[in-house]
Symmetry: C2
């Protein structure tokens, strides 16, 4: 039985036991399900059945530790619904069991009054840590890091460090990469548990540790953090403050989540869709409408430039209506080629493959490639021009094709760089924007060439 089959079977059995309020069966089934899977079922209960009491009852059947882990797997809106249905006391016990990064994320969702009430009931140390982690700006290393790492004071021996690892093991997010800090809390070095395990027990860790530790400042962008974790195959990446004091670590699984969600965001931006908080099947209809309508209406007005171009050339068109035959084809081709060029650049910039310093070199390459593409497409379309309206029309269409594809590709390539220079996200240079700009230019180029050639003929 495959993983997803067994998951579906378990899910069905659980839903049935829930419907029948069969407590015994629930208690038998729940230990067989993983937190991520229970979270998915809870989410479905909350969204399809809009039944928070039922979700709470299911959550309440789990041991405390799993309650925290399941809650951590839920998207923000579902967490908030459940948190609002829980008493301060019950929420507090769950918060205490959560990882420090997930705790801070949930805390940030609550309203100000509740946050103050919860903070007052926490121990001082816990309170300070939570306030600190909750204060980092979203999208930075600080917002995705955890404070549950293993820090070893400089000067310990291997066996002392090993003892420290054993003590910290239950609470730490990872015990496999250790960070050595000096008496000021500054990051002095790192050591993997693997290295520690094979080292002589009496050896000072300062002699073993790697001093040149890859690390990031707390305000580093999360995309950059994820890229560093991926590039150097790290288990965790230490995060330091302005004084190089160690304040947290970003673990590989959180970095992977960033890579996934950044890719989704870039893909949506590439189609002029604002970023969605949740999957497309679950996000509210109103927000789906809102995320899509803004750009669509803006593009309607941008498209009016094409209309204006057409109005300007109305005489040429009236004189030879066959010109209209090629209009969608020509502006469509320019738009497609331009969207391709923009997509290649935007993704290259997002993965760090392309930088602004490569601009000159890439411009030369794009000129060559787009020129060849334009010529190929002109050759493909010229015979149809002859068939529809003779050689003069074929010439106009072929010339327009090369010019429009070349212009469209260069525009598509330059726009992401230009936006980046202006301090905007290059992913905003989306296919619809590029296409609309090229549509308008394409109209002018096509009818401009047509007017020149046909009036000369």
């Amino acid at each position: 039985m495959s993983l997803s089959e067994s998951l579906n079977m378990h899910r069905l059995a659980l839903c049935q036991a829930l419907d029948e309020e069969d407590g015994e069966r629930l208690d038998a089934l729940l230990p067989e399900l993983r937190s991520a899977d229970i979270a998915e079922i809870l989410e479905a209960i909350l969204e399809e059945q809009a039944d928070p009491p039922r979700a709470l009852a299911l959550l309440g059947r789990l041991p405390l530790e799993r309650r925290a882990s399941v809650l951590g797997h839920l998207p923000g809106d579902a967490q908030l619904v459940l948190a609002e249905a829980l008493s301060d006391e019950r929420l507090l016990t769950i918060l205490e069991e959560m990882g420090s990064d997930e705790r801070a994320d949930l805390f940030n969702l609550l309203d100000e009054g509740r946050r103050q009430r919860l903070l007052r009931r926490m121990a001082r140390r816990e309170r300070e840590e939570l306030k600190r982690l909750a204060s980092y700006e979203e999208g930075t290393a600080g917002a995705i890091m955890t404070a549950d790492y293993v820090a070893i004071p400089s000067g310990m021996t291997v066996s002392q460090a090993m003892m420290r690892v054993r003590q910290t093991a239950p609470d730490a997010e990872t015990v496999y990469q250790l960070y050595i800090v000096d008496d000021q809390g500054r990051l002095a070095g790192t050591l993997s548990l693997r290295q520690l395990m094979v080292a002589p027990p009496g050896e000072p860790i300062d002699a073993l540790m790697i001093r040149d530790v890859i690390h990031v400042p707390v305000d580093e962008a999360q995309e950059a953090v994820a890229r560093i974790v991926a590039r150097y195959d790290l288990l965790a990446l230490p995060v330091v403050d302005a004084d190089r004091r160690l304040v947290g670590i970003v673990t590989h699984d959180d970095a992977m989540d960033v890579v996934e969600s950044e890719a989704t965001e870039d893909i949506h931006k590439g189609m002029s869709i604002g970023s969605l908080e949740d999957g497309v099947s679950r996000v509210p209809l109103w927000s789906l409408y809102r995320k899509r309508v803004i750009w669509l209406v803006l593009l309607v007005f941008a498209n009016l430039f094409s209309g204006a171009g057409i109005a300007y050339f109305e005489e040429t068109i009236a004189a030879q209506v066959a010109l209209v035959f090629f209009l969608p084809l020509l502006i469509g081709s320019g738009g497609n080629a331009g969207a391709q060029a923009a997509t290649l650049m935007v993704r290259g910039m997002a993965t760090g493959d392309v930088g602004i310093k490569d601009w000159g070199k890439l411009l030369g390459r794009e000129l060559l490639v787009a020129g060849s593409l334009g010529l190929t497409m002109a050759l493909a379309v010229a015979p149809i021009g002859i068939m529809r309206g003779g050689e003069a029309l074929a010439l106009v269409v072929a010339m327009s094709m090369v010019t429009i594809v070349l212009f469209g590709s260069l525009l598509g390539m330059c726009l992401p760089f230009l936006l980046d220079r202006l301090g905007w996200d290059p992913a905003t240079a989306s296919a619809p924007l590029v296409t609309t700009l090229i549509d308008a230019s394409g109209v002018l180029i096509y009818f401009g060439i047509a007017t020149a050639v046909l009036s000369a003929a």
Copy 2:
């Protein structure tokens, strides 16, 4: 100094030392650079300067272990260039130092004769393992897994297992997740090193281990593998054969690489660009041209349907040339809305958020959202219709807008599901394809409505 600044500084110094053939300085600089960074410099030497001997000289200055690790970080084409310049003997020593997954990848790039020569010089056990790993189909769990995992025979005690971990540590890809196998080599359970460390030394591991291990078959698609690693926050995912025998593990860093490259591939497909072997700034011009031209030319011919539609309605157009004014606007808007819908579905399907079972529910949602979008855009464009040609034209344009946006969105939503049903990759339902199909339908809808309304008026 930030990570990328220090990296750039080191890179510059290294390139200078290379130019001046300053061996002493090179030997001082190389230990300060990480394998991923040296690989990037080697790649630049190979591609910008096309100078394999120089790259080989740099590689030769590294200790053997790093040579293997740097080679593993290079893209396939660069690995092949270097491998072809190395003698069998030197290549063999490097291959022996590489991780088993990277070794198999490089091996698969070599020509048949060389593979046979190399295999003959290997020890029997090594040879069998390499042949096995190299035989798995690309894009499956087998192709990205490593055979360097820690397997603990069932029946050992905690202290025996610990001893085994210490022995295996130098060669294993990760020692932090251990896999317990029975005497047939079948996967019986798993245990993290963390759990092992805090357990009593005399305890049998069979009493401690988790028996319900998440695992995948060796022919599982790599996207599914990566999704499971991400979903359950795994350090590594065990891979089993048809008899449930453990044959390898996929580690978190390899899963992350899959997530990144799959996202890039989907983004490129979304713009009708074939998958590129390498970053856009480095891929050869000819292959960039080829990956883009096929779809562009196909779309040229698809666009001819729009032209045919226009030819059919030529009389209507000749009677009211003002209709052409709104043509790019209407078909552009339909294309944009359709591309948005297609993008949302394709990405939702890729991340596992949307399945074919959600189709009915999503269709209803899309009808509502697209209907609202169409109405909004019709309201935005109607006043311009009145300005340009009176109320009849405004009515035609508004009705066409609603119909085209609704039709385009539904087409964009259904196409990915349809392709999936046909066994194709839904990402092929790219924006240019959706746009082109909607262009043609838009022409028919617009001029059809125009002919009906204007001839009635």
